[in-house]
């Protein structure tokens, strides 16, 4: 039986994907858990291809909407492969009775987000399902981009001593959405960070051409993305708690709810691993960009323990940072 945990982007998700999809679709090009596949064209160009379904509730939240996410999510997944995103598809599953005006607003958000990201929505699909067969609206985008020659981003290229950077403060998106649902009765001025990062990635890659690996820490947050990095590189990741940029209100909400900001989703941030000598230039390039002002070096790659993400705590101790297990649920203890 599939449970909510299978969809939360943590280890249960990874297991389901491995057990069901990787097993069924096994092929050399298959991008099991990354952001998108990179495929060779006869001409020698490399094509990046990625997809995501968007099921966020509520459909609008401070800072964005399902339409923004649908564009940003796929643009960012393409950017994480090193590609320049070009074209998107958009498939809409609409519950009968959904207001056409709201649909128009979502499409407008998508168009605006696409324009801002420099991509075009070129093909689409619309399905209407019975009342109760879908909760309002589900949007699935796929995206195609081209990887400039020479760019090779892969966890296998990561080396001990490399630095881990984050492009900005973390946890805003997930917390904004959790609060917007209303059932926690919490009020805060937290806005989703949703944004396309492809332009910022170009700045980074110009400043740090030897960048090893990129990942957008969406569902499961920075903690889960770092665990994927550790797993896929066969190395360790050591984060520095003091360096991880978290807005005070996000931290406050996390403390109140007993949730680790490292497990909260982001939709306009990315992690980068760069060689140590290019880290200062990388950081400077990010910070120069309006969307990268709060970028930070948050850790480094270690020989070992292999596959483990550790964190030097503010206190000077060390702890493990695990993958998210299931959805982040507010806890009382």
């Amino acid at each position: 039986m599939v449970t909510a945990a299978h969809g939360a982007g943590g280890s249960a998700s990874a297991e389901l994907i491995e057990a069901v999809f990787v097993d069924a679709f096994r092929n050399p090009a298959l991008d099991a858990l990354g952001d998108g596949a990179v495929l060779p064209l006869p001409s020698g160009e490399s094509l990046a291809f990625s997809t995501d379904s968007f099921v966020v509730r509520p459909l609008r939240f401070p800072g964005g909407s399902i339409g923004d996410l649908a564009v940003h999510g796929t643009v960012n997944d393409l950017a994480m492969t090193g590609a320049r995103p070009l074209w998107l598809s958009a498939a809409f599953v609409i519950e009968e009775g959904f207001p056409v005006d709201e649909l128009r607003r979502v499409a407008g958000d998508m168009a605006e987000a696409a324009r801002a990201a420099g991509v075009e929505v070129v093909t689409g699909d619309t399905k209407v399902v019975d009342t109760g067969a879908a909760d309002g609206l589900i949007v699935t985008t796929a995206g195609v981009g081209l990887v400039p020659p020479g760019r090779q981003l892969s966890a296998r290229r990561v080396r001990p001593g490399d630095r881990v950077l984050v492009s900005g403060t973390i946890g805003e998106h997930g917390m904004a959405v959790m609060i917007a649902r209303g059932n926690l009765a919490i009020d805060a001025a937290i806005r989703s960070d949703t944004a396309a990062v492809n332009a910022l990635v170009e700045e980074l890659l110009a400043a740090a051409p030897s960048t090893r690996w990129l990942r957008d820490p969406t569902r499961g947050g920075v903690g889960t993305a770092c665990n994927e990095l550790a797993r896929d590189s066969g190395l360790g990741v050591l984060l520095d708690e003091c360096s991880v940029p978290v807005r005070p209100d996000v931290r406050g909400a996390c403390e109140l709810l007993g949730i680790d900001p490292l497990h909260v989703a982001n939709e306009g941030r990315f992690l980068a691993v760069v060689p140590p000598e290019q880290a200062p230039a990388a950081l400077a390039a990010l910070r120069e960009h309006p969307r990268g002002r709060s970028a930070a070096v948050i850790g480094e790659i270690t020989e070992g323990p292999a596959g483990i993400v550790a964190m030097r705590t503010a206190l000077g101790g060390t702890r493990i940072v695990d993958m998210l297990v299931g959805d982040p649920l507010p806890r009382i203890c």
Partner: protein, 90 residues
Amino acid sequence: MCLGIPGRLVEIVDAGQHLATVDVSGVRRTISIRLVAADGPQVGDWVLVHVGFALAVIDEDEATRTLEAMEKLGAAYQDEIEAFGSSAIP
């Protein structure tokens, strides 16, 4: 056991129902202050929040005293360590 977070009372929402708003680093939520009603909590007071209830009004002086005592505790033995360090048999 039992997550408890310090929050500052920023508004008494409904005195009859003992409802008040607390602020935790810019995050607000209405909680019940019925369990600390007899302490007469005021806007500006800090309370310990657990499952949407104030469990206690935080005694700010006591907090300062605790911090000082901890510092003393650390320092005392810090000195002692240093003392040891210079006098101990190598």
